[in-house]
Amino acid sequence: MSLAQVETVAPEETGGSLGRDAWRRLRRNPVAIVGAILVIMFVALALLAPWLAPYPPDKPVGQVTPTSIPGPSAEHWFGLDDLGRDEFSRVLWGARWSLVIGVVSLLLGLIGGMVLGLLAGAFGGWVDGLVMRLVDIMLSVPGLLFAIGIAAMLGSGLDAVMIAIAVVNVPIFARLLRGQMLAQRQSDYVLAAKAVGVRRRRIVLGHVLPNSLTPVIVQGTLTLAVAIVDAAGLAFLGLSSNDPSIPEWGRMLADTQRYLSSAPLLAVFPGLAIIIAALGFTLLGESLREALDPKYRR
């Protein structure tokens, strides 16, 4: 039975959820495609490194001396490194380690930031005040210095590096999430949910949080890039894994500075790898932002 005349819903070219909508925008963006290809390539190499790498990454396979480090050849595509190991295999395995560093530090930072942000955003009041002061304090120390401090506290090791990078990201995620949640909490649809009698927990978890996550996802993607680059910076300062034979790009790049004059290609391969991987995540993150954030839709 009908109380009013029935309207037809105009078949729209945009269909589906907001996510699908964003996905469509993303697919049309060449920047996003380039970014996605780079990221997929990176992840694929990282996962398949053990099968793709022609040589073990941590065992010398040829004799080198400080002044004669062979460059690329048919046998060794990227040449040998300063210890006579196959550089190509190391760069491949490096993708794996960089991915581990990026993902672990991102996840840790995300979890920390989400917990803090959620506390602040969900409770407000003095909890919010306390959390935000803590965030302010953490943000008042430049990221790299902060990471250095944390790494110094934890001692050397890749886990220390990952935690340090993660901790630096905690206040960023916390603030982002909290700001979003506060904004969402003010929104009409939250009020509407309250008005129909939806429980508070369900409002926070079912409405406020999911709608606050978009910028967090974007930031997360960008953070992966930053984490990879930051890990290189920390490695340059001597904060890296205990085991130098781990083929981690940042460490590889930092360690080859002394061969810049004798074997400059040694720095080029891990350097390019870092740039390409970070660029992939950055391009993807930026286009995600454009796809998801209405402000960027033009």
Binding site: Q5, E7, T8, A10
Partner: protein, 320 residues
Amino acid sequence: MVFRQRGRPDVRAVDGVGFSVAPGETVGLVGESGCGKSVTSLAVMGLLPRRGVRVEGSVAFDGTELLTLPPDKLRTLRGRELAVVFQDPMTSLNPVVPIGRQVTEVLVRHRGLNEGEARREAGDLLRRVGIPDPSRRLREYPHQLSGGMRQRALIATALACRPRLLIADEPTTALDVTIQAQILELLKTLVAESGTALILITHDLGVVAGMCDTVHVMYAGRIVERAPRHDLFGAPRHPYTGGLLASVPRLDQPRGTRLAPIAGSPRDTIAWARGCAFAPRCPNRVDECTCATPELLGGRHGLRCFNPLRSGPVQEVAPR
């Protein structure tokens, strides 16, 4: 003055809109959001972005063709001969520049006054548009003024060089009714005093009824009906015009009459090239409506419809 212009962005926002305004005349452009009325005003002013938008046709201002005028020539006309007041006074003033400067910059630019003269003149202008304590206001920033005051300041700016044509694009939409009444009254008075031609763009039929000599009703980028206001309100011919009038509750009519809405939404259109854009919503739709494009025909009371409403003399409408 004769305007004939047609804008053709990727989507034809405005298509074959033509109208003219005589000195001292007030012309109304009425339509719902997205009907292209604002695009029209921007096209007239040459304010549409150059990239991605194509404007065809002709805008003749006092014998000068505006569309082909070099940008710097056009710039000397804008603000001096042609002025515009936009919808939202909150965003139309630069938030970081004092009100005074935003008024005087026109005077300095077009009337060649020096800063001091311009300031005095600006004070006079603000007083004329009813802003109390103008010398203080000149020093203030937009956020310190209420919406009504800002719109007054914008009107003062627009009228600073006594333009021959003023386009007011939804000048009162963002304002409360009591403030709207003040602003409309002010516009009416100023236009009458100076003999400026006024194009009033609005979605509010009530505003048009009180202000305009001639009214153009737009739908989906085209003018569908054009008439002197008494004719239009007295005997609307186009089903859209009629529908609009019937769907708005009137304060002066007895309560209890059920409103007669137009079906569908403004998004339900068909391309003009394939018929009448209003056809999907039109209660008077005939077969012809979806296969031929109606032309705007008629003299004083022009109409773009194959099957107009009954009242009044029906012009013969020829299919294209």
